[in-house]
């Protein structure tokens, strides 16, 4: 079951991950690492890592985990908003796309 945890509220994780926007809580169907790109599988309504090879890659609601979540545990995910992480070394202006590796994302030139 999906529950909206908060909206437009800053959340700062102990690992230095902060997020602002629409944040929900969901049960993980597998072990999820913080900052993994995930989706809710329709069959069991649990969160799984999302990649281009997943059949629902273009249709499922994508979200980003802002904390590590063990399988069958509840974790927080950003549906829409900004996510900050001090260890990232990204290039401003690039698009963020799904990666072939489930959970990862790729930077692509605009």
């Amino acid at each position: 079951m999906i529950r909206i945890y908060s909206q437009e509220k800053d959340i700062t994780d102990a690992n230095g991950i902060s997020a602002t926007g629409l944040i929900i809580k969901a049960e993980a169907g597998e072990t999820i690492t913080a900052l993994d790109v995930c989706y809710i599988k329709a069959s069991d309504e649990k969160a799984y890592k999302l990649g281009t090879g997943i059949s629902e890659a273009n249709t499922a609601i994508a979200m980003m985990a802002i904390e590590g979540v063990a399988s069958a545990s509840i974790g927080r995910f950003v549906l829409k908003g900004t996510v900050k992480y001090a260890s990232w070394a990204l290039t401003g202006g690039k698009k963020v796309e799904l990666s072939a590796t489930p959970g990862q994302f790729a930077e692509v030139a605009e």
């Binding site: 549906l79 990232w88 994302f105």
Partner: protein, 186 residues
């Protein structure tokens, strides 16, 4: 192209949006020229529907000789939007390709139809056939065609300058009178 899920705002920050530039964002009306083909090369590929709901770039095959098997009527129309339509058959001759062109003079009033007989053979064409207003010369005189400026349309051909056996031209009725006296001069 993978699904876009956000944009990098800075080195340490991204804007994440599940609906960011998703395929359905524009209502599915994506212009064909907007489809990217990064990662593909050669300039010969086409985007094919794979039959399973996905599409993929495919290498175009070689030239295929085509027969229009989809035409079920007895008429095949080439609308050239020109006063002189052309059907061109390119053929090879050594290193130089030549063209056989089927075309028409400019039609002025009526539709024209060329009908082939129920025969197999070769159509022999020559550029020596004179027009209707001209005549064919022979060693013994001139044969004048019906409808020419000399021979009226209701007159028969038949003229020999070396003899007065036949008038320059005669009517069909008179021709019948001469039937028993006409001879071939050799």
């Amino acid at each position: 192209m993978a699904r876009v899920i956000g944009k990098v705002l800075s080195a340490t920050e991204i804007y994440f949006d599940s609906a960011y530039f998703t395929p359905t964002l524009s209502g599915g009306a994506v212009e064909g020229t907007a489809v990217l083909s990064t990662g593909e090369a050669g300039g010969t590929k086409f985007l094919r529907e794979d039959g399973d709901g996905t599409s993929s770039w495919q290498t175009a095959g070689g030239h295929t000789q085509n027969t229009d098997t989809g035409t079920t009527g007895n008429t095949f129309t080439v609308d050239s939007d020109s006063t002189t339509g052309k059907i061109i058959v390119d053929v090879a001759l050594g290193a130089a390709d030549l063209s056989l062109t089927l075309t028409n003079e400019t039609l002025t009033a009526n539709n024209r139809t060329a009908t082939f007989q129920n025969k197999t053979g070769t159509i022999a064409l020559t550029s020596d056939i004179p027009p209707a207003s001209n005549y064919i010369s022979s060693a013994y005189g001139d044969i004048i065609g019906m409808g020419s400026t000399i021979c009226a349309a209701d007159r028969l051909i038949g003229y020999d300058s070396n003899t007065t056996d036949l008038p320059a031209y005669i009517s069909i009725a008179d021709f019948l009178k001469y039937l028993d006296t006409i001879y071939v001069k050799i």
